[in-house]
Structures are given as C-alpha cells and as structure tokens.
Symmetry: C2
Amino acid sequence: MKPKVSIITLGVADLETSLRFYRDGLGLPTHDYEDGASIVFFELEGTWLSLYPLEKLRDEAEVEWSAGGTQTITLARNVGSPAEVDATLAEAEQAGAAIVKPAEPTFWGGYSGYFSDPDGYLWEVAHNPFTDLT
Amino acid sequence: MKPKVSIITLGVADLETSLRFYRDGLGLPTHDYEDGASIVFFELEGTWLSLYPLEKLRDEAEVEWSAGGTQTITLARNVGSPAEVDATLAEAEQAGAAIVKPAEPTFWGGYSGYFSDPDGYLWEVAHNPFTDLT
C-alpha cells in the first residue's frame, strides 16, 4: 500500500454544527461545498479532512458498531513555536472548542495542549522542536 | 489555523501487533523507530500516522474517556482504479486485516471497500474517478 492517507473522515452528530466549527471557526477551506450537501470535504495540505453524518458513515461502512468505545484517535496540528500553540488553542476556543488540556511542556521536550471539536474528537496542538511537521 | 493535519495517532491495544500489521503487513515506512520504543511514527506522504498505546494516549490527553463509543473515524486510501482497490484490500487481508465490506460500486460513482486494522480502526480503500487523491 502506498504510504499515504488520502482522507480522514469524522462521523459527526450534526453536520451543520461541525461545518460551522471547522469552516467558520477554524477557517478550513471547503472543497466544492454547496449548502445542503450531505458531506463536507476540506482541502488541506496533505491528507484531506471530511465530515459525514455519523449514521450515514455507519451505514456506508456496513460495520457492526460496538458500544465499547475503546478506540481513540487524535489529530495533531504541529506549529512553529510554543506561542503559536497558545494562539492556536485560543483560536479554537473562540471557535467553540473545549480546551481539554491547556498547553504545557511535554515529557518529550515539546509543548502541547488539546482541544475537542463539537463531537469530542481530540486535536493536539503541538510544537515539536525536533521534527518539523508544520 | 493552517489547513493541515500533521499526524493521525491511533490508540492501540498492543503496539507490537499494530507495528507488525502496518510496517510488515502493509509496508508503511517507520520514522526513527527502534525496537522497544513506546511510540511508532510512519512517515507518510502528507499527514503522518502514529501508533501509541491506548492507555498512554488517554493519560497524555488527560481526557475523561466516555464509554459511549459514538465517535467514528475512517481513514481513506484512494487508489487509481477499481482493480487497485481489489488488490489493496487483498494485500490488507493478507496482512491480517478483516475485510468488513468487500469492494463494490458506490452510490457516488466510485468503487470502494473497507478493512479494519487489529484494533478495529476502519480504512476505506476507494477509487474516485472524479477527484484524484491518490
């Protein structure tokens, strides 16, 4: 398999709420979106992000969804400095995100904090002085 | 926020099992990995993928993890043709993945199927003739 993820799709409870958060709050650019569309794509650098109603995503994949809830994914946005981590978390909070972990120095020598989107999906905002993934 | 996801981190039950699946089974290239490391990074085109023990990920983010399990994320690998979808699913199955939805034509005019990794994380393998994200 070619080493690339093309799209990350988040199953969301309310498409409009999530669209407002990511498009209007965080400023992510949509791709060919028209009002009322049943899916939203954001054209990001590298891997794209998409939003799709949770129920439709489950139907689409035809998976038996356990109620276990033990899986966890985080999406990281790496930025250029600790100050930029703080600014990005503040921007997310202003957009309506919950700050689940305020930024602080990490054990691995970086600086990071976490926010969650309207569905509780976790984003880490991090500064990593050793590997540049900004 | 700059429109980019730097890293997708999957919380996994057993790091060694997941490492074997993604590195040895799917052939993803690790980044600076040494035996026994507590985290694995795969250097992908665009957004990187990482594996981290579920418990550590939860501690790290300091989040109260609900048992709800209503969140769902899928990761898509877009390829160049329906035949390549079939081949990629076969490769994943050989690597130990469960095929949760065999490939078939989709309602939106593409062709896709789903497999799940050792933790049940869902990957869609898709051919989209309209938007090239291969």
